[in-house]
Amino acid sequence: MTSRRLAAVASLALCGAVLEPLVRDPDDDGFPLSTYPMFAAPRSAEVTLAHAQGATRDGRVRPLSPAQLDTGEVMQAFTTLQRAVAAGPEARAALCAAIAGRVAGDAALGDVAEIRIVSATHDAIGFVARGAPALREAVLVRCDVARGAP
């Protein structure tokens, strides 16, 4: 009988915990008890996002992967960038230098001479549906990729 009571308590506690986010602010997310706000809130299609670019000496832009931000996850890379940009010039410069350090050790990006952290405003629907370019773009910070002498 006692064990039935314990089983009931465990069941109620776990089910109650998973349903508790329903009485929380929907934007107050947690883990593993989530309000699941992702993909739920309506958003404007015009968004401003920070991203990192590599630039060669002749001005060509080379795309960088999340690995240059020390992660395999696009969303973690995104978060790291946005948080550094929001934190101000010092954090931006530190992140730029860290990316440059990783690019310096990447033979596939051997022609990249400069790293730029860029803030770009896009119409996301136009970009995905028609490949529309950024509406506005600004370089927030740039730093050189220092490589040892060959």
């Binding site: 069941s11 989530s34 809130a41 995104f78 549906a129």
Partner: protein, 309 residues
Amino acid sequence: MVEGRQGVFEMTRLARWWFAPAPAERLAALRIAVGAYAAIWMVAQLPELAGVARLPASQLAAVGVIGVLHAPLPPAVVVAIAVATIALLLAFTAGAGYRVTAPLAALGLLWTLSYRSSWGMVFHTENLVVLHVIALACAPAADAWALGRGAGEPPRGPGAGHGWAVKLLAALTSATYLVAGIAKLRLAGLHWLDGDPLRTQIAIDNLRKALLGGATAPLAAPLVAHPAILAALSIAALAIELGAPLALLGGRAARRWAWAAWAFHVGVVLTMNVWFPYPLTWVAFLPLIEAERAVAWPARRWRRAISAS
């Protein structure tokens, strides 16, 4: 008085349903499938975990149990806890020393995956597996198919049986989808059904991936260009999420709902390239079916290997 009696009757009926017997092998099958998934997932996440452990302390945004920390842990400690958790999850899966290893494995998994989600990005792909491991750790899930337990040995314990724990896992699966569905109504209301919020979410998600060097989803461009289809998909997605409690009916209703939810996740891959491996591999839905059948073949191999040794 009559109302009181009616309430007691309903409670008794609910208790009878919740505690309806299920074979020990069903719960054991769930332990094996969920434990093996969690162990493999943890191994796969080790490099990622080592990466976030090196992020600057200023980026720590503690969620859940990580709230007890005032500063990040040294990376070596983070990795050591993760490795110990993998070892505990292997013991959990095998059912070895279950009363000790299972709660420790659940604690280690909760800690490690909460730590990974404490750097500004909450990984919702990992919520349900953590909840399932915690639920299994509270249950007599090593009464069958467990290392060190002889065939035909009677259950160690409780009078509550095994059915309640299977129901609990099913309820947790169902509840997470229900909460996600209600979140859409709370944040967007019925506007979510016209397809516009989904269209914008798909577009923003794919834009982010394109800018950050990730792969975009194959159906993003055609669907964003055809909003009418997205309205239908929005209605279907919300119906699946709000219809999750139907899965608790068991039988055909549960199987149909599980396949619908699985198709929903395939749709998320095709439109956003967001992967939820736990439901995509069907492990999340095993509590809704006769799980012992699904894992019978590897379990037979396992028993043969144990008896041979």
